[in-house]
Every structure is written in C-alpha cells, then in structure tokens.
Symmetry: C2
DNA sequence: CCTTGAATTGAACGAGCGTTCGTTTATCTT
DNA sequence: AAGATAAACGAACGCTCGTTCAATTCAAGG
C-alpha cells in the first residue's frame, strides 16, 4: 500500500497537529513517540516527515501558533490606552479567560514544554509570552499613575494575575457544574480586589464594568 | 573496578536524589535517562538500582517527600481554627511563599511531572495536594461565614490563590533584586485584596497582621 | 586477619527511539 | 489516456532506553 484513497495534504497536516496537541498535552513531548503519533492519525511514522522535518518542529509549530493566536486575538480585542485602566484591566481579564478556557491543551503545552524547545526556539516563544505580559503590566502601571488602580509592583502583579488566570485551565472542565460566565465573574472579582478596586470604588476609581 | 573508596549507601542515595531533582526539573522526567543521572553522581547506571527499584520509583519518592515535607511544615505552622480567618490566611500566604521559594525545583516537579506518574502513584500524590488545598479553602469559608473575609467561591478562590503563589517560583530568583521579604509583602497584599481585606478594613474585619 | 556483606562495575538484553530511503499508489494536469 | 506529482508505505539504520546479572572491590565485625 502507498497513497490512501481521499488523502489530502492539508487535512492530514491538521490531523497530525491535533493529535500531537492532544498526545503531548496528555503525556509530554518526550514521552510521545513518532510512531504513537502516527498511529493516532492512522499513518506510518515515515509519513509525518512529509509535513514536519523533525519532531522538534512539531512542538515548535504548536507553541508558536498557540502564542500567535493569543496575541492576534488580544490585539483585536484590547481597549485603547485612552480608556480608563480599570476597564482595560477588566477587558484583559475576561479576554484571557474566554480565550484560554477552550484551549486548555495548548495552554498546558505552552507552560510545560518550553523546556523541550531548543534554545533558539525557546527565545522566540519567550519573546511572544513577554510581550503579552508586558501589555498587562502597562495597564497596571497606567492605572497606578492615574490613581485608579492600587498595585504593589506592576510587573510582579502582572505575573501573579496571569499565573492565577492561567491556573484556571488546570481544573476547569466545561462538563462541570460551573459555566464559563460564572468563572469569568469570579475571577474578575478576584483581579479587581487585587488591584484595589471594589464594588464601591473610592478615590475616583472608574466604576468596574460588570458587563 | 567495583566498590569505591569511601562509599556509603546513605550518602549515595542522597546524591542520587539531589541529582535527580535537579535534572528532572531542568529537562523533564522522560528526557532524563538513567545513564545521565548516573553520570551526574559519578556512578554506573546499574548502581542506581541498589537504591531505587525503577526509574518511576525515583520520581515517586521525590514527589512524595516534597508533598510530605510541605504538609508537615504547614501543620506545624498553621494557626488554630479559633484564630481570626484573616490572620490564618496571612499565615498561610506567608508560609506558602517562605516554604516554596527555596524549593523551586521540587515545586516544578510537583506540577509538571504528575502526568509521568503511574495511575496509582498519581492518586496518592493528588490526595496530598488536595488536603493542602482543602485547608486553605476551609480558612476562606470560615472567614466568609464570620464576615471577616469576602470571597466569591472558597474552593475556586483557594485554587486561584495557590496558583498565583506557586507561579512565583517560576520567575523568582534569589540572585535578583528582590528580597524574599519584599515578595512576601507584595503577595500578601494581593491575597488580602482578593479576599476583601484592605489596609483600612471595613465591616469588622480583623486588622491584617503585617509582621 | 579473615570472613561476611555492602557497594559498585561492565557487559548484555530486548525493545523502542527519531529519522532516511526507495518504492508504490492515488490524484491532478494536460 | 498518459505523464507528473502528491501522499503514503515498509524496511532498515544507528542509537539509546530501562533493566538484569555475574563478577569484583571495599569496609567492617569478630
């Protein structure tokens, strides 16, 4: 046997990526073999090399597109710098949760498998991650300077918020009793508290949008 | 050659554990081979099997003792349930940071390599983790009922806090510009904010201890 | 000092690894 | 219908994996 009936390159590549995402998220990059991956998409191991030059390239492409998707979606949805910092922060929080909840496997990969990247691949991905983090830090800093947010140390707080929000994906399951909207509301309240916002804002803080 | 001059079982075992912790934290369980590990402690690969029956047992012992150390230290340091919830929460927060900061590699392992455990080993470790999390949730719940803390959903908030605090170990380096005490202060302020505590507590909340 | 047991070795096992290669089959182009 | 190209195969390569085992050397106890 050789070429299969109805086979099409783009479809096969997508199938490989999906299977790789699922398998690596579940077992880890090093633990997943090319033969395992090939079995999952009903191919011989050799066929994968038509689409990815190496195993490392599979991981890299998964991580890279995960980060690019994140940044693209965020850049489309973020509020302009002219808007009040509390609103921008809420937009960030809700966006982050909405974007990540249905992508738990990609999130997992992005956290766990950075160390499986070659050094040069690592710095490329890390740069993307840092730009996202810096965006949040800038919002916090702006709010601090305007007096609408009260934040101990913007960079540290930014990391704390992201860690907290991202940790969500490790336990949240769509099949559970909690709706995404409920989760979003809870976490936004936590973030608001962390940054000195409360339900009855003092000292001229903009009213939190509870959309 | 066989037995080495000055060799002693206990010392060798400790050396293996230390090297395994460092190597697995850096490269991942699956990526570290027995020969690599043996090299790091200047032994032949076969010698490791005098101390650990399998590779899996090394990981399990590392994770188990990490969790047991955590729980033992916490049980020794936590405040009794009679004390005000805000104080108990602050004790938890500061303990968690103090305990984890110098153990970043163990923390990393406990998060990343759970999936490398066999199912039965996994449930054993997971039970320990859950008991720690439940302890925090109980504090939040108590504070909520007494009205000294304002928490959206105790279980969710407990997970959020732990994720936030534990994320600290991924970026904090003792060689950096920030002292452990500064970090502790910042994070406690964040946790206090998340739970409705502020510098000027309202509605009868106990005054946060800023020791 | 001699024996016993702890500590470690080197060699080997079968299995599986990522990757390459020449070949075969299906689809597309003309 | 024929030739070109895209898609997949099975077999193999050299290596490394976790683990076992008989043999060897060192440290202690009587």
């Amino acid at each position: 046997m050789a070429r299969k009936a109805g086979s099409h390159g783009e479809r096969t590549e997508a199938a490989i990526r999906n299977a790789a995402l699922r398998l690596i998220a579940r077992h880890g990059y090093e633990a997943v073999s090319m033969r395992q991956l090939a079995d999952a998409v009903d191919l011989g191991a050799a066929a994968i090399y038509r689409y990815f030059p190496t195993k490392q390239a599979i991981l890299m492409r998964l991580l890279e597109s995960h980060m690019r998707d994140l940044l693209t979606a965020w850049h489309a949805e973020r509020l302009p710098a002219a808007r009040p910092a509390p609103q921008r922060l809420e937009a960030f929080t809700r966006f982050h949760i909405r974007h990540h909840l249905p992508r738990s496997e990609g999130v997992f990969l992005s956290y766990m498998e950075l160390r499986s990247l070659t050094p040069e691949n690592f710095v490329a991905i890390e740069a993307l991650r840092q730009s996202y983090e810096a965006d949040l830090a800038e919002i916090l800093e702006a709010g601090q300077q305007q007096g609408s947010l009260s934040v101990p140390a913007p960079q540290v707080t930014a990391r704390a918020i992201i860690a907290m929000l991202t940790g969500l994906t490790t336990w949240y399951r769509a099949t559970g009793p909690m709706s995404p909207e409920e989760v979003e509301a809870i976490y936004w309240r936590l973030v608001a508290g962390m940054t000195g916002l409360s339900d009855r804002p003092a000292k001229g803080a903009a009213r939190p949008v509870t959309a």
